[in-house]
């Protein structure tokens, strides 16, 4: 197939338009009113960029290419369509990991080609300039450095995201901690860097490097991604996923430079920067620094003696709880991820509407990291049809808790644990929490006596003004609705 000579120019022009559309799309996604059209614009840019790439000169393996695209698109499309909204965070992790893996694979292919070409150059010292010039044209020093860095970052993002996915999906034990873990991880990282640096130094000088060095570099990078993510507790996963999202962006930008592809450079860099900022915002919402998230083994049991919690758990049944709230003046509903998992948001909203009809003032109190990521709970409540004006952020609702007659906690745990304020030895000490403990009465819907995602006892559950309503979120919410209805009936 021969292509007209102006084709590369068309391709370049489309790449430019795609880059504009990505930025425009992300810009629109940053406001609730225009968010929906944003993804469509970005999608149009993406589709155009992918189609014109087929028309670049000298493309081979088109059969393989089309097959791989069709399989990848169809599988992800089906999975992405089918998963429940609650599983969205791990889906982001999964798809992000795939992007990181792709970036690393691109770097690997380019480095293999480069080294294979170098192997054909007679290895004399100094290198004969005429033999070297042809190979050096493929990858200059900057490209070589960025190719290696891109492989490292992309590989870490790949395996790290897959571990994050497995953890959020509940496929893996939540923590994997052993003594001197940090030093082991550091050693793995250092070994990867040494392998990469040796190969890189040889490549820059014009000497072919041993394949073992490249293989070692890639394998160690992949292992480091796993080792780095294993000790991080589930509660910190959103921050980690966001960080890997930024990593993938950077890897894409670097490999884009290696391939001299402007659309990849710009899109990758925009995501790298946006992802970094987003990671900081998330870490800040949890009052933790990024270093703290990565290296403190959060929720690893604390180590130091935590304060004993005195008191007993006092159960309540659904009809009593319903009556208590029916005659209250103000009720605050504090939903957590547990509510979403139980798919109880629709029932809870039904219950809230019945309360509103009785003249009770109902508010939904959302912790910044309720659910699994900032804004995740808002999405889930929006799905159930809860209007925006009933949803309050932590800073707005916290002063109102002392005037709240009943706080109904459903499926939230760590974000309402007063230990974060009182116990300096607790791993969550200093994390901003919803001040539920200051409400006049607290009802906690909970499946059993288990601990939260962070693995810490919750002092709120043992407080004098707290009653436990045991049961699955969905069943408990149905019980509350039934309780209200008998009251009216």
């Amino acid at each position: 197939m021969t292509l007209p000579t102006w084709m590369p120019t068309i391709v370049e022009a489309i790449y430019f338009i795609a880059a504009v559309l990505f930025i425009w799309g992300l810009k629109r996604m940053s406001s609730p009113r225009t968010a929906r059209t944003g993804i469509v614009w970005a999608g149009a840019g993406m589709a155009a960029a992918i189609i014109v790439t087929f028309f670049l000169p000298g493309m081979h393996n088109l059969g393989w290419m089309i097959a791989a695209i069709v399989i990848g698109v169809v599988l992800s499309w089906i999975v992405g369509r089918r998963v429940p909204m609650t599983a969205m965070p791990q889906m982001v992790a999964l798809f992000n990991g795939m992007g990181g893996g792709a970036a690393a694979a691109i770097g690997a292919v380019e480095l293999i080609k480069f080294n294979a070409a170098l192997k054909l150059v007679p290895d004399t010292s100094p290198i004969q300039p005429e033999a070297w010039a042809d190979v050096a044209g493929r990858l200059g020093t900057t490209e070589l450095v960025l190719a290696f860095v891109g492989v490292l970052i992309g590989a870490v993002s790949f395996t790290g995201s897959l571990i994050a996915f497995a953890k959020l999906q509940g496929w893996m034990d939540r923590r994997f901690v052993f003594p001197l873990q940090r030093w082991v991880n550091l050693a793995i990282f250092a070994a990867a860097v040494v392998c990469g640096a040796l190969a890189l130094a040889a490549g820059i000088e014009g000497h072919a490097f041993e394949w073992g060095l490249l293989i070692g570099f890639i394998v160690l990078s992949l292992v480091f991604g796993i080792a780095m993510t294993l000790p991080i507790g589930g509660a910190d996963m959103p921050v980690v996923i966001s960080m890997y999202n930024a990593f993938t962006g950077l890897a894409v930008a670097f490999e884009g430079f290696v391939l001299q592809n402007e659309a990849m450079i710009i899109a990758g860099m925009v995501v790298g920067a946006a992802g970094t900022l987003l990671t900081q915002l998330m870490a800040k919402a949890m009052n933790r620094s990024l270093g703290n998230v990565l290296f403190s083994n959060f929720g690893g049991g604390g180590g130091a003696a935590q304060q004993e919690i005195a008191g007993a758990l006092k159960p309540i049944d659904a009809s009593d709880a319903a009556v208590m709230m029916a005659y209250a003046e103000r009720v605050a509903i504090v939903p957590g991820y547990g509510m979403a998992v139980a798919q109880a948001q629709h029932k809870i909203w039904e219950f809230a509407r019945l309360l509103i009809d009785r003249g009770v003032k109902v508010k939904f109190a959302i912790h910044p990291v309720a659910g699994r990521m900032p804004g995740h709970m808002n999405v889930l409540l929006a799905e159930a049809g809860v209007p925006y004006d009933l949803i309050e952020d932590m800073d707005d609702i916290n002063p109102e808790f002392p005037n709240t007659d009943v706080a109904l906690v459903i499926g939230a745990n760590d974000v309402v644990n007063p230990v974060a304020r009182t116990d300096k030895n607790s791993p969550i000490y200093g994390m901003p929490i919803l001040d539920v403990a200051r409400a006049k009465n607290v009802i906690v819907i909970k499946r059993g006596r288990g601990k939260g995602f962070a693995g810490i006892e919750n002092a709120l559950f043992y407080a004098d003004n707290t009653r436990m309503l045991y049961g699955d979120g969905q069943a408990a919410a149905s019980g509350l609705v039934a309780g209200l209805k008998t009251l009216d009936g």
């Binding site: 999608g43 499309w77 965070p89 992007g99 893996g101 694979a105 209007p387």
Partner: protein, 104 residues
């Protein structure tokens, strides 16, 4: 050909653009936006196609196919997930105003 400082300028301007886009976003949009940016780096598919398109040996082709497969998954999955999340915002808007009226 992008070289040296020109590349640095592109990196720098793109980084500021990304930073600016996110810096004034309400918390409720953090998750969709993260998902959206996850979709945008799916542009890696274009690079994967180029790498596979110029692959010659079986090992290069194998890694190239893996790259295209993974990148295609990133693109399609990223789009679907983001679209589904943002759909919620459309559905909730009229519902919000309706029930707000009901309450009065």
């Amino acid at each position: 050909m992008i070289t040296g400082f020109l590349a640095l300028y592109i990196f720098m301007l793109a980084a500021f653009t990304g930073y600016e886009i996110i810096s004034r976003v309400p918390v409720i949009l953090h998750t969709p936006l993260m998902s959206g940016s996850n979709f945008v780096h799916g542009i890696v598919l274009v690079g994967a196609m180029v790498a596979l398109g110029h692959a010659e040996t079986p090992i290069e082709i194998a890694i190239g196919v893996a790259a295209v497969l993974l990148a295609a998954g990133n693109v399609a999955g990223g789009y679907v997930v983001t679209e589904r999340m943002l759909e919620m915002f459309k559905a909730s808007k009229p519902a919000a105003s309706q029930s707000a009226e009901k309450m009065r």
